[in-house]
């Protein structure tokens, strides 16, 4: 018996989007945009 199973060639790419927030809003700046 000769059994040959050939796997699939899978090539894919995908992007995982994320947001990274830095800091927590503590107080208003003293000077216009941004300090």
């Amino acid at each position: 018996m000769n059994r040959v199973i050939t796997g699939l060639l899978l090539l894919s790419s995908f992007a995982v989007s994320a947001e990274i927030e830095i800091g927590t809003p503590e107080f208003e700046s003293l000077n216009p945009f941004c300090h």
Partner: protein, 163 residues
């Protein structure tokens, strides 16, 4: 400056950066020769000389000869979409620089952002785009990075044989 540990520890493409205006901010603002640069720093705390803080070439990710901000509102991020994504290496401290030339003086240009206080001086502020030095502060803006992690999954052909 944003410490590497705050960036999530993996390489990502950054496509936009946002700032959070305060509730008391004006709703519009205009700035000449506005630019946003990104790069890296080896430092954990900045020095007072702008040029000494970069450990890599800075890249202009956004620029506008005359930036007009409108419909600014507290709680709604002011987003700057990059011309090209910035590939963050996942391990370095990220350094960003904003610069602009007036008019900041007119009342309708007074946009204020929300800030927080870091435990060391991670911000440097100068009062002119030509400033070589500035004053150091631990007061830094709230930021929002829009990122994408590009993943590639590959399964190569396989063979199983029995005789």
């Amino acid at each position: 400056m944003v410490a590497a540990e705050d960036m999530g520890g993996m390489p990502v493409e950054i496509s936009a950066l946002g700032f959070m205006p305060s509730e008391n901010s004006q709703k519009t603002g205009s700035y000449y020769e506005f630019s946003l640069l990104l790069g890296y720093t080896d430092l954990d705390e900045l020095t007072a000389r702008f040029d000494d803080n970069w450990s890599s070439m800075s890249i202009v990710v956004f620029s506008d000869p005359q930036l007009e901000l409108t419909e600014v509102a507290g709680g709604k991020w002011i987003m700057f979409e990059f011309n090209e994504p910035f590939l963050y290496d996942g391990s370095s401290n990220l350094l960003y620089e904003l610069s602009w030339d007036g008019p900041v003086g007119p009342p309708d240009s007074r946009i204020y952002t929300m800030n927080w206080e870091d435990d060391k001086d991670t911000a440097l502020v100068g009062f002119s785009p030509d400033s070589a030095t500035g004053y150091l502060t631990a007061i830094v803006p709230n930021l929002l990075f829009v990122t994408a992690q590009v993943l590639k999954a590959q399964t190569f052909a396989g063979i199983k044989s029995s005789f």
